[in-house]
Every structure is written in structure tokens, then in C-alpha cells.
Symmetry: C2
Subunit: 331 residues, 2 copies
């Protein structure tokens, strides 16, 4: 910058003002500075220096969970990210995706990223990355929990929504089952009866499972007899395998509460006999295949997270879900 100032025959401050408060300098000086900058190939103030001086980076950090791969393969995570991106675009702020899931370095990366605040996508209570984000003394907004001091929570009331969906799908069922997202950080795939929600590491999954259990109990169904098929990702191919295991262990399965529309469709496709099915998210898939589902907008929730991270009041999304009844639960 000082080179430009010298070449233009003005002081560095004049150059700085030329870029930041053009009205502060005369048209003459401005022209001189612009010409000198063009000649020297100076593209404008250095971003790092500027944010050092300014004390803020005008950038929002996003942590997408243990493995970036899972996040980008999950349309819901993408929708969430889109919502964040929208808010960032409105405000002219950058959106920095912090790469995690590659090892012990994750924490350092979270600490060393040049961001003003963090939005954390659904993760486990004990995720070290989460601890690192909170430890940086930057504002942290967590989607779907867990609850921590100094962080803001955004998300729907998954337990209530799951209870409503469960009531619908289990209503006439004699052999109900659940198709679930992972319950531990290793993303084990398995089928087991009566999984205790309290042992689930992911808050969102925990709440949904608790909600399904509530619904089962409301209907007098013995939860300890309800098989839960756990999938490692929100992926149809794997879900069908898990569904086959469910069918093998529970021959006359007649209802499946699934934690996503993808999983629900996988269940339908594997089912031989008629099956009541509910999904989650009200995606295109649900509409196309007439799935009963819990409608929510991850995009709006992403936007709310971003807004909250910027320190502005965000709408409360706890009640922002709706049970959409369709043919997959009889109507």
C-alpha cells in the first residue's frame, strides 16, 4: 500500500481512504491512487491485515460434523447450509466451512479459523470439536442441541414431533419398528429392540427416539419389544439392508417410523406385505411417494442459526414442524 502511496505521490492514509471512504478524498487524488494501483497491480487492502485492524473477520464459521462427506451427502444438511449461506449473502459476510473429521487436528482448526462466530450442525454432546468451538469465546449456535452454557440452540421440538408421527404410524400396528439415524459416534449399523433413548449420543436422534417411545407407550406398546434399525447415514442403499434385517428379525412387521424420508422409502421398497410408514422432512421423495412425514424447513433453521450467530434475535423454531398425513399411513 505504501508503494501505491509513493507512486501516486500521496500518503498511505489517502490510499486507505480511497478504498474505504472514497468521499473523504478529492476526485483528483482518487484518480491518482487508482492509476498507481492499476500500474502496480494492487488489488486493494489486504483482508488479513484489515480484519486484524478491524477486530472482526466478517465471516461465519460452520462446523458440519465429524465427516464432511456425510454432510454433503445428506440433502437436509445441504438445505441447512443453504439457509446459512442465504443469510451470509444478505449481510455480505463470508461463510467458512471448517473441515473436520480428519483426526486430532480438528480442534486446532476450529480454534485457528478466522471467523467471528460458529454455527454447529447436529453433533454429539461430547464432540471435542464442539468443545473447541465453545472454548474460542466466539458466539456458538448449535443446531439441534446439545445444550451448553453460552450457546444458543435452534431446532424443532423433535420429541414432540416424533411423538405425533409415532402416534400416526403406530396407530393400528401390531409389530412396529423404527429406522433410526446413528446413535453413537462410530455410526454403528445394527438392529436391536428397545433401545434406550438416553444412551443415544446425538441429541436430535435421542429426542426423536424418545418421541417414538412416548407414542408407543401412549398406545400401550411395549417399547422393549420394538426393534430399532440403526443406519450409519441417510442413505437408501444401506437403509434397505437394515430394513431386510428388521424384516428377518420381525417377520410380520407392519409399521415403520423412519427418521428421514429416504429411510422411509427404503422401508417401503423392501416391504413385501402392506406397511405403515412415516418419514421425516417432507422432501420431494415424500411428496412423490405419498409418505406421511414430519415437515420442517432445515433451510429456515439454517437461516435462523446464522442470524443468531450474528447476534440478532432469531425466531423460535421449536414449534416449526407439522405432521403431514398421507397415504403411507392410510390417508
Amino acid at each position: 500500500m505504501s508503494d501505491v502511496a509513493r507512486a501516486a505521490g500521496v500518503s498511505p492514509m489517502t490510499v486507505s481512504y480511497t478504498y474505504n471512504q472514497p468521499d473523504r478524498v478529492s476526485a483528483e487524488s482518487r484518480a491518482k491512487v487508482q492509476q498507481a494501483a492499476a500500474v502496480l497491480g494492487y488489488a486493494g487492502p489486504d483482508p488479513s491485515a484489515r480484519s486484524l485492524r478491524y477486530g472482526a473477520t466478517r465471516t461465519l464459521g460452520v462446523v458440519l460434523g465429524e465427516h464432511l462427506t456425510y454432510a454433503f451427502d445428506d440433502p437436509q444438511a445441504v438445505a441447512f447450509l443453504a439457509g446459512i449461506a442465504e443469510v451470509c449473502a444478505e449481510r455480505g459476510c463470508g461463510l467458512l466451512i471448517v473441515p473436520t473429521g480428519t483426526g486430532d487436528d480438528d480442534r486446532n482448526r476450529v480454534v485457528a479459523a478466522a471467523v467471528d462466530a460458529y454455527v454447529v450442525w447436529t453433533t454429539t454432546d461430547d464432540d471435542p470439536v464442539l468443545a473447541a468451538a465453545c472454548g474460542t469465546r466466539r458466539p456458538v449456535v448449535i443446531h439441534g442441541g446439545p445444550d451448553r452454557d453460552g450457546t444458543t440452540l435452534v431446532g424443532i421440538d423433535n420429541r414432540a414431533a416424533a411423538r405425533a408421527a409415532g402416534a400416526e404410524v403406530f396407530a393400528t400396528a401390531r409389530r412396529p419398528a423404527v429406522l433410526s439415524f446413528p446413535i453413537d459416534r462410530n455410526r454403528h449399523t445394527f438392529v436391536r429392540c428397545g433401545v434406550d433413548p438416553d444412551t443415544v449420543a446425538y441429541p436430535v436422534t435421542r429426542d426423536r427416539l424418545a418421541g417414538y417411545r412416548d407414542a408407543a407407550r401412549d398406545l400401550g406398546i411395549d417399547w422393549s419389544q420394538v426393534p430399532v434399525g440403526v443406519c450409519s447415514t441417510n442413505d437408501m442403499a444401506e437403509a434397505r439392508t437394515v430394513m431386510r434385517q428388521l424384516l428377518a428379525s420381525t417377520p410380520r412387521l407392519d409399521a415403520v417410523a423412519a427418521m428421514s424420508d429416504h429411510l422411509a422409502l427404503a422401508a417401503l421398497r423392501e416391504a413385501a406385505s402392506p406397511l405403515r410408514v412415516s418419514g421425516w422432512d417432507d422432501s420431494d421423495i415424500a411428496r412423490e411417494h405419498n409418505l406421511t412425514t414430519v415437515a420442517q424447513s432445515l433451510r429456515e433453521q439454517g437461516a435462523a442459526c446464522a442470524t443468531a450467530a450474528f447476534g440478532d434475535p432469531a425466531p423460535d423454531h421449536r414449534g416449526a414442524w407439522r405432521l403431514v398425513r398421507r397415504a403411507s399411513t392410510g390417508g
Copy 2:
């Protein structure tokens, strides 16, 4: 940091070394520093200051085109982004999405973003954002062109691929048509015959259109009689509308070369009589509906772009496509 140094009774340099080269300081000093940092709530070196000093940000910038919304709604753009993210994760670098599409400010944002290099997602030749990115003197890698001095290109040979797809889908056709992505920056939706590829602003779309024209000519079809339906986004709902317009203007339409599987499926759904259809990308949709399609991996291309942006040699993707023949073209 100097506060921590004072509290720990050491020099600032010792604190710095504690974080950056822990082996450089004695275990004793390290412990003192860590304790002082914990007490004072110091989370580690400030990222902005560090990158100012270091001269690099260890962050890759991504420009996704005019409107972020379009990008996140397009699964192919998301796959591309996922590929970039993967490479960033491997290298421990951040991935900064620069928000554009909000007005004149776009250029400033691109210039003012704290990144070491840029990857630009398919855009028009004359996109001012592209010019801004190139003007920052940072390495720029462009997906799908256009060609500019000092930038690297990554992408398949769209023209050759379109020619192959066109040869397949137009083979027995008497009334062929094309379903295209936008051809101008305003993303106008319309139907017109014999669109001249040279007038198309998006290089990828231009090449594909030219390839379809090549194929038509090879088969002795008069290009000026071939209607092209232009959709503003990669969205099925709108594509069906455009397809209806095509059918209205060309009653006995019997072949559609579409620039994506979504568009191809939209064409199939609207068609009353048998229709030869080809798509693009070999997505789940194509597999499910047995669509002939041009297979390519946007994810790999994203990874290649990121690798190239970091200054490393990236594989040549020009030939990384394959025509997948399925039932939608009779075989």
C-alpha cells in the same frame, strides 16, 4: 497474548512457541503458559494476525455463481462443492464460500475475502465477479471455462460428450428437441428454434449446445428446425412447463436431449407419446428411471479444481465422461 506472557512470567515469544512449536519450550514453561491461558480465557493465537504475519490464510475461496440459491438447489453444484471440501479437509484448509449475486458489492467481496486462491463454479464469460477474482492476483481455477489468461481450466469436453449423447438420442428421431440450461445471465425461460451456440453466455451450456448441433448435423437434421427449450434452473417443476411449451410448438416431438437428468425426467413425465430422452450426470434419477445419460463426476472435478488451486498438478478431466445407454433411448 502479552497478557498471558505476563501472567505466566515469561516472554511473549515463549507463549508463541508454546502454541506453534511446543518442543521448543521446556515442559515447565509450557505448563505455566497453558495455565495462564486457561485462567485468562486465551484460546490461542489470533487467526487474522497469524495469517497477516504468515502471508497466507490457508483458506480456499469458492465463488458459486450469480445466486447462491441456484447453487445449493443444484445437486451437481453441491457435488462439486463436496469435492472441493474433501480436498480442503485433507489439507486442513478452510473453505470460504464467497456470497455473490446480491449486487454491485460482489466484486468487493471477492477482492476482500481472506483466501489464498479461488475456485469458480461455472459462470458466464463476462461475469464481473470472475474478472474481480482474476484481478486479485490470486490463483484462479475455473470449472468449465471460460478460458482466461492466468487461470486454470477444469472440466470435461462438453461438446464431445453432447455430440455422443445427441447421436444416441437423435438417432431415429424425426422431431428432436433440446432442453437446455440458461443461455444468458438473466436466465430467461423460452422456447426457440435453432439457437446459435455462439450466442450462449455460459461456456458449459454453449459447448453442450454446440455438441447437440454437431450430432444433429451428423444425422442430416436441420438445426434451424430444432426447438430449444431453455430452463432458468435445474428444476423439474419449471422444466415440465418448458416441456409443455415444446410439445405445444412441436406436436409430434419424438426425442429430447436434456442437459441434466432432472430436465430429462421432466420431459419424460410430460410426454404423451413415446419419446427418446437423454440426460446428463448419471444421477440417482437416471438410474432409477433408466435414462440414457452422460456420466461424469462433479465431485472429482471439484476435487481437481481445489487441487489445482493449491498449485498442485490436477488430473486432466477432459475425457472423464462416458455415455451410459439405457432404455430411454431404446437400449
